[in-house]
Amino acid sequence: MNPQKLIGRVLATEKNPTTIDEFYFWTNVETKLNAFDIVRVERDGSDTYGVIESISHITDATSFLTNFISSDFGDVGVIEPTFRVGMNFAKAKVSYNTKGDYTPVHNNSKVSLATQEQITFALGLDKVENPVVCGALKMYEGTGDEVTLPVNVNSKFLLGSEGAHLNISGISGLAAKTSYAMFLMKSIQDAYALKNDDEDSIAFVLFNVKGRDLMAIDCPSDDLNENEKNEYRNLKLSCDPFSKVKYYIPYFDQTSQKYSSYLSRSDVDSYVQSGKLKKFKYVYCDDKESIEMMFANVDDPNQTMEAIVSKIIDESDSDFKGLKTWGEFLETVSANSQKGSSGSKGEISVLSWRKFKRIVNKAIKNDDMFAQRVEFEKSECRLSDELKHIKKNEVHVIDIAKLPEDKQAFVFGDAVKTIYNLKLGEYDNEHNVTPPSRIVVFIDELNKYASNDVPKSSPILRQILDVTERGRSLGVILFGAEQFRSAIHKRVTGNCA
């Protein structure tokens, strides 16, 4: 493109002066510009760049009435032999001056389109350290001068240690939030795949919450056309799908009617055969500490539920010690909620026990996921075992789409707790635990777990707050997406990019 393509001149009037941070310029009515396009203004010895904020069209008509009268007092079909004299003017915000000269640009200065190098320069994109491609910028779209340039972000601000976490909000149904998160994570994976540095490595844990959205991210896309492939190449990104992906779906019995994933049975079988899918189970003796996660969305003003949970995980408790299975556990809970039952119920009322029983019964009974033991040879696993052993550049997708909300919370809470503990170094002395330096946790519909309405005592909210407030230094990075940013707890968004 012509680097000197002149499109207009700066306007400075008494009413609309040019200032340190903005200026106006006129252009021809035919000149096509978009908001956020960057234009260049020549000064003596330096260039000032501005970002177009708005574009207005005016004519010499002094009022609406003039136009109305010019149509024979309201005849909509009138054909005029002369076009009214009109022009476009745009308002631009000053973004950069090549010599740091921010005195206002002068009246009638030349305004031209900028070249790709100039735009990169003007936006400071040439100076991004630790670059990770986070998208592309199109300028002058729809004109012959269209420019596309990659936009990089400093990964230190996205993944720590300077800043961390990402929150994406937007309306539903545009396939933009999740897709963008995928794009970004793919870009990060590509960037880190090239590194071979154990001190600076990354892994991903994704929660699939809708249909089978994320259940095929290692399969190449068929609808990528040549144009789109070119765009990827221009961004220096590969068009390949995610690599090193492992899927985890809740366990279900082959014979059972209940089926806890949106993946078809044949897909599950083929995934299992290629070794990339495991079904996870929860076993009472290993997972009882996560029971509290079932109460994430339960109001517990008197903390009775909490008291019960701590009683259960108390190894020396007279009622609950030595229990091995969910069945035994439920029986014990039942016994406690019997009217006048004996035992050390002490300060916990029978009513609280009944409430507790209702909740755990609903969750655990008739669910294959809560099992007696894990059959590893049948591609079964315990989720927290798998997460403990996450390796660099791996992508773990945990499918919770078909689970009811309380169990989604349970799985999510349990997983986040595991990851957090892993990074805290709690499992360091176990065999084969080599966590990557950073783990990205992506959860769609974050509002389910960290909204303003979640009870303050929610253990999941506590986990998320821990991750957002202290995860950066530990290397646990939260990528969240939801429809309304305002619905998210402000201590979460306050820490997000």
Binding site: D60, T62, T66, D72, F73, I79, P81, T82
Partner: protein
Amino acid sequence: MDNLNEVCRRKKITKIIEEETGGKSYRAHKYSLDSDRSTLEYSEQEDMSFSWKKRGETDPPASYKSLEKQSRFLAARDEQVLTYFLDGSRHVYKVDDMAYAQSGGRSVIYPTIAGQVGVGICKRQDKRISSEDLTREIVISIPNIADPNGKGGFFEALSNKLNDSSELSRIKQCGWKFTTPIPYDVKADERKFEDRGTARIQDAMIEREKEMVKKLVRRGKLNQDNYLVKDGSLEYRLTKNDGDDDKSFQTFKQNYNWVIGLSKSFNPESCFDKGKANPGYIADLPLYHRTPVAYFGSDKEPLAFAVWYVRIRSKDRTRTPFDGILKVEKILVRDEELKDGIDTDTVDRLSALVINERNPTCYGADTRWANHIYPIYLTERFVKSQYLSADSFLHLF
């Protein structure tokens, strides 16, 4: 400091005139003569030397003729022949009082009148207006007795002096120049000297308009598909040059073959119907109708005009019944036109096109919106935008 010295060295125009004519400048108050006078007095003054002769078209309608259908038809097909638009304007100022000695030790004071004259032509192409041509000059009118000898060549020499002046040099690059000063007569009658001077500057403007038309014709811009629309009347009196010999007269007429004059205002008393003044006939002209064409000729001059009126805006929407009516004039050029009048089809077509010019309007920006057509309005704005401000102009003197 240098700048200041240079300013001091500059000789004011009145000083040059004083030196050259031997008068005595009184450095009187300088002011504009435009503001408190109606332009009608000079520009739209009816020239009574032309009078109604007969019906002026080949197929005269009995009464008003509706052109609504034709104008809509032409608009829908985007047919257009009105391509060029000409507007001349002037700003006149009294810039000095100059005393000239008379016999017996007496002296008489005459005003020095100066004006900025600008004539511009705009072109319409694909419904967009662009500037085609522009002249700008400063015209000075001083009493004829300023020339002490009266032998001719005096005013030409004066104009050379004026054009060499350092005052002018700063605006010369913008195209400004002095034309030869025009003397006004000083014979005793009731007319004021200011008005005489103004009238001469008005004449100069009309001459400039004619020259612009001539230039356009010479460049071959005007033809049956490209008419020139002139703001104001075409009822020019022939100047000495135009009527000099048959050849230049023919040239003059040929120049106006593709020119029509559109007047925003006119004297209702001179609206003729069947030979008699009948202003009511024009006032009652229905919307999108035209009057029959009248043939105006003169006993003294070999020129003839076709004149008709077109209503472009409804009477209900205007202040007076004469608002919204345009007077259209065309100089009759060809022999058959002079004999039988102008071709009725041409009149209808031109009238329909003029009716289409009703939109867009300059409502809100000009109080004469009902009679203004937009391209002329833009041409006028263009010419006026090129003027020197009154302050800068008066500082020359």
